[in-house]
Amino acid sequence: MDLEDRIKVLTEGAKYDVSCSSSGSNTSAKTGYLGSAASSGICHSFTSDGRCISLLKILMSNHCIYDCLYCVNRRSNDLPRARMSPKELCELVINFYKRNYIEGFFLSSAVEGSPNQTMQKLLETVELLRTEYKFRGYIHLKAIPGADSGLLDRASMFVDRMSLNIELPSERSLKLLAPQKKKEAIVSPMKQLSETYLQTKLERPRIKKIPAGQTTQMIIGASPDSDASIMRLSQGLYDHFKLKRVYYSSYVPVNTGNSLLPMLPPDLRREHRLYEADFLLRMYGFRAEELLPEDRNLSLDLDVKSDWAVNNFANFPLEINKASYEMLLRVPGIGTRNAYRIAEARRHGKIGFDALKKMRVVLKRAKYFITVDGKFYGNTDNPERIKNILRGQELLPAPVRSVQLSFFDTMPSYISGEF
């Protein structure tokens, strides 16, 4: 196979990995070295499915010894197989980077030979890229479950971020759908990486290992796990392993003819709601137990924060000029940025309803949960009705039409100069 075809095959094999972020690392540029990493991350293009391309996401090889049911690269699938050498990969990265196509490199691999052999190859590639090619751009490396901890530790010297995919939200599902993968082989390296990351953060050593931390990914909808159990798992990963992100990937039926897997792809809104809940955990101070106190799924037709707010309506309405920043964050329609701005702005004077509008607070949601200088602007304070309105199921009463005063009747026009 020529280079072009191999790149095609290895891209196809990598594209179901959803992580694309290039943020969290702040590597300054250095004279004589190529590249830097911006802490905000930079998207360089967007694909026709609306996902960002930030990193060159590619597999080193798609020859796999495993036979996981949900995976496109499983051993028993009949598809073209390819591999690329460390040097070929480096050349591709460098040439893409110099043309500003990409922000960095996301290298993963199917498990070829053994976990150690595969990890060794991956390590070889990132080491070559950093030392020979003097590349300082962003690198995200997939760690191979079951590889030696020494290899992992060495690789972490050369990359910004590392990740292990937890694959499925429960051990039971893992046993069922990926019987060759063991929970311990995934969890113990994650633990190791969380220690590495903490060391980098706290001790600020000269060689910064994985400065952008670690992430993970799980497949949603291939197994019967509930959203409540998924969010509790994520909560645990953030609490105990200091993960930067958990990615959720709605199951795409790439393999057919297996009764253990659903035939149809799950409702895409589920993935969307899980991300909403995930952001509420990471940036809004929510806990998984608050969002989903019982073992159930997230509501598909109402966003997670609104759902929480109507179910906990006793907390509302909040006075916008008094509520704490932490509580502002809990108001539907107010995001992290506006919560901060409201908290800052009100030190200079009371904030009115018009100002909130100008600040682009989403008032069609927020108005049911706030008062502005003592006044409530919603048309109802019945949580059940609010729920229905927000779902868009209840038609709002038509506004009373008032006669609009005509500007031209009463005032001379300064625009046309007529008096």
């Binding site: 190529l34 026709s48 499915d49 930030s54 110099k98 043309r99 500003n100 795409v252 009115g352």
Partner: protein
């Protein structure tokens, strides 16, 4: 209303600000946009005076900090034809309240200014990702583009640090501006009317590999062109080789 009409560059605008405070205290607004002056207005053309502009710059920096001035200078690069009025309104608050203006997020004048500023910076951020370089036969990397705002000078520092190992050219085709990094220094020059480029041997290969990658990495079952268009507006695609 008295309207101060500055020359259309930052120093001109700052000079006008000086005059609005000292020589034409009754001026109602500052604008160099032709439609800003109506029949009833009295237009006063302001000649740029670098000394006065400098005074205003220092005044801003003293009143609200160096970063506040940078924000204003960057906002001035906007294509908004009301930018001078909006910046001037904001400056009046800045001179009255000092640093406090930086956090007056609910003030309509501040919001109007921040909208102008944020649009400029958003485009800068996008362009740090969207610009494409072509390798020329001479080994120099060449990039052409053109956005809504005049941001070539804000893009340069980003690429200069990141791509310091290669010589490259940024060419804003819409504004006829060109800046290049020769490995040691940055130069800003007016762009020639026509540019002839000779691509390197590798260029076609990597450009086509990139186009192929861009196509292959998409998941067909999840097509969402509306979202894609929102994230990469069509107005930018003419300088991105994958579109």
């Amino acid at each position: 209303m008295k309207v101060l009409v500055p020359e259309p560059h930052l120093a001109g605008f700052l000079t006008a600000v000086y005059h609005a405070y000292y020589t034409h205290k009754d001026a109602g607004k500052i604008s160099s946009a032709p439609q800003a002056v109506t029949l009833l207005d009295e237009a006063i053309e302001v000649a740029t005076d670098l000394r006065l502009a400098c005074k205003v710059r220092k005044g801003i920096q003293r009143k609200a900090g160096v970063a506040a001035y940078t924000e204003i200078a960057n906002a001035y690069l906007s294509c908004d034809d009301k930018k001078e009025e909006k910046i001037f309104n904001y400056l009046q608050l800045l001179f009255r309240y000092g640093r406090a203006v930086l956090t007056m997020y609910a003030n309509p004048e501040v919001i109007a200014f921040r909208d102008v500023y944020n649009k400029v910076m958003h485009e800068v951020h996008r362009f740090t990702g969207f610009l494409r370089f072509q390798e020329l036969a001479s080994g120099v990397y060449y990039s052409y583009f053109g956005g809504d705002n005049d941001i070539i000078e804000l893009l340069m520092p980003h690429f200069k640090t990141r791509l310091n190992t290669q010589k490259f050219i940024l060419h804003d085709i819409k504004r006829g501006k060109l800046t290049y990094w020769d490995g040691a220094a940055i130069h800003l020059v007016p762009a020639p009317d026509t540019v002839n480029i000779l691509l390197s041997d590798n260029e076609i290969l990597f450009s086509s590999l990139w186009k192929q990658y861009h196509k292959n990495v998409a998941i067909d079952g999840r097509k969402n062109l509306k979202l894609q268009t929102r994230l990469v507006p069509k107005k930018y695609r003419w300088f991105m080789n994958e579109f």
